[in-house]
């Protein structure tokens, strides 16, 4: 007995068999089972779920829409309204740890003798050690100096990564961008609570700068793959 072909059985998933096919199916358990499997396969395809786009997808799209003049930036995006609670907690912990790290940098047991620092502006020489920080303006100046040092170190770190080709190790630009978005959102929320806090301001400035750099890098990548439209 010659079996029905797989293509014929595929047709019979949605169409009625002719007389000969009906007779064969009535007699052949193997073809009936194959038709049943094909029917199940087709039904399963119709039940496939939606797929969430990768993290950072909206950020890239938002930048493209803005660059093409199709959208104004979504200001509310920086709010915490839609940030998952666990992410808020994680960001808060990160902020706390960052602040603690900065505090330890300035702690008396670690004499701080940086280069010229600035109590009121970037051009005024100001030298101090942590033990000499006893007034609020001095403490603010120390924080600003620490921020500057952090930014300098960050720039050097990025340059080293670029020259050594290690910038992408273990992290995609999209996932990094998504993580930075959360950090920026956390910083914004924290700033609402303490608008003048220098640590939070410094943290947010760093996160914003990094996000901008990562966005530009990501857009460069996107641009290089855009030749098809």
């Amino acid at each position: 007995m010659e079996h029905l072909t797989l293509e014929t059985l595929s047709r019979l998933v949605g169409e009625a068999p002719d007389a000969a096919e009906r007779r064969h199916l009535a007699e052949c358990a193997e073809c009936r089972a194959e038709l049943e499997a094909l029917t199940e396969q087709t039904l399963a395809l119709g039940r496939l779920p939606e797929i969430r786009p990768p993290l950072g997808d909206w950020t890239i799209l938002e930048a493209r829409l803005a660059s093409e003049g199709l959208a104004r930036p979504d200001r509310d995006f920086l709010g915490m309204a839609r940030t998952p609670a666990w992410m808020k907690v994680a960001a808060t912990i990160l902020l706390f740890l960052g602040g603690t790290g900065l505090g330890m940098t300035l702690a008396p047991r670690s004499p701080f003798s940086g280069p010229s620092a600035t109590p009121g502006g970037p051009d005024t020489p100001y030298s101090f050690t942590a033990s000499s920080v006893s007034t609020l303006p001095e403490a603010e100046a120390a924080v600003r100096l620490a921020e500057r040092r952090y930014m300098d170190a960050l720039v050097q770190y990025r340059q080293l990564l670029d020259t050594e080709g290690g910038s992408a190790r273990g992290t995609t630009p999209e996932s990094r961008l998504a993580a930075l978005e959360y950090l920026v959102a956390a910083g914004q929320a924290a700033l609402e609570q303490a608008p003048a806090d220098p640590v939070i301001n410094g943290f947010l400035a760093s996160a914003l700068a990094e996000r901008q750099a990562t966005r530009q890098a990501t857009l460069r990548q996107v641009g290089s793959a855009d030749d098809w439209y």
Partner: protein
């Protein structure tokens, strides 16, 4: 135009879809984001399946959204917004696929076995189906996705692909048969087990 109520932001007043579309037309980033959040999984799913590749899928989805936002002023509400957007996504993905070299690459001989890269949250059956679809030649994959996954008619597929509806039918039957063979290859033990093989 449909007026399903959707909440654009927690704590903000709810806007109808029509209002969101109207604001999005004016370049309101918040409204565009609300539409994106609502429909991105559906758009991404169809372009991902047509692309057959994660990297291409993101590019195709982005292109679909750019086209949709650009064309938003022409949306008159004759069809549901989701249907209108879906068509744009399908067309964007199909056109992008035709312009890319991947079509030629994908028409290389099919592998004997298929690697199934698991994705968190996918059931084993879904993983097998997605892997088998990715391995289909583009012509078959497009017809199978549009018909069996997305529910298009052969006439609609013919319009989208620029082929006769009869061609769409024959491609579909071939695609289903090839899927069956590929899935048996993935299972390794499926041959002859019929529908039992589908019980996960």
């Amino acid at each position: 135009m449909p007026s399903q109520r959707v909440t654009s932001r927690p704590g903000r007043s709810a806007l109808t879809e029509a209002q969101l579309i109207q604001r999005a037309c004016g370049g309101d980033g918040s409204a565009i984001r609300s539409l994106y959040e609502r429909y991105a999984p559906r758009v991404y799913a169809v372009v991902r399946r047509i692309a057959g590749d994660d990297d291409l899928a993101q590019d195709y989805a982005q292109e679909a959204w750019i086209r949709a936002i650009r064309a938003l002023p022409t949306f008159r509400g004759d069809a549901r917004f989701s249907t209108w957007l879906h068509r744009i996504a399908v067309n964007a993905a199909l056109q992008a696929l035709r312009r890319s070299d991947t079509r030629r690459k994908r028409e290389a001989p099919m592998p004997e076995t298929l690697p199934v890269a698991p994705r968190i949250g996918d059931s084993l059956l879904e993983q097998r189906l997605e892997a088998a679809m990715d391995a289909l030649p583009p012509g078959m994959r497009e017809v199978l996705i549009l018909h069996d996954v997305e529910g298009y008619t052969h006439e609609e597929i013919g319009d989208a692909l620029g082929v006769a509806s009869g061609t769409s039918k024959s491609q579909l039957f071939k695609a289903r048969a090839r899927m069956r063979t590929l899935l048996q290859g993935i299972d390794g033990t499926d041959t002859g087990q019929g529908a039992e093989a589908w019980s996960i």
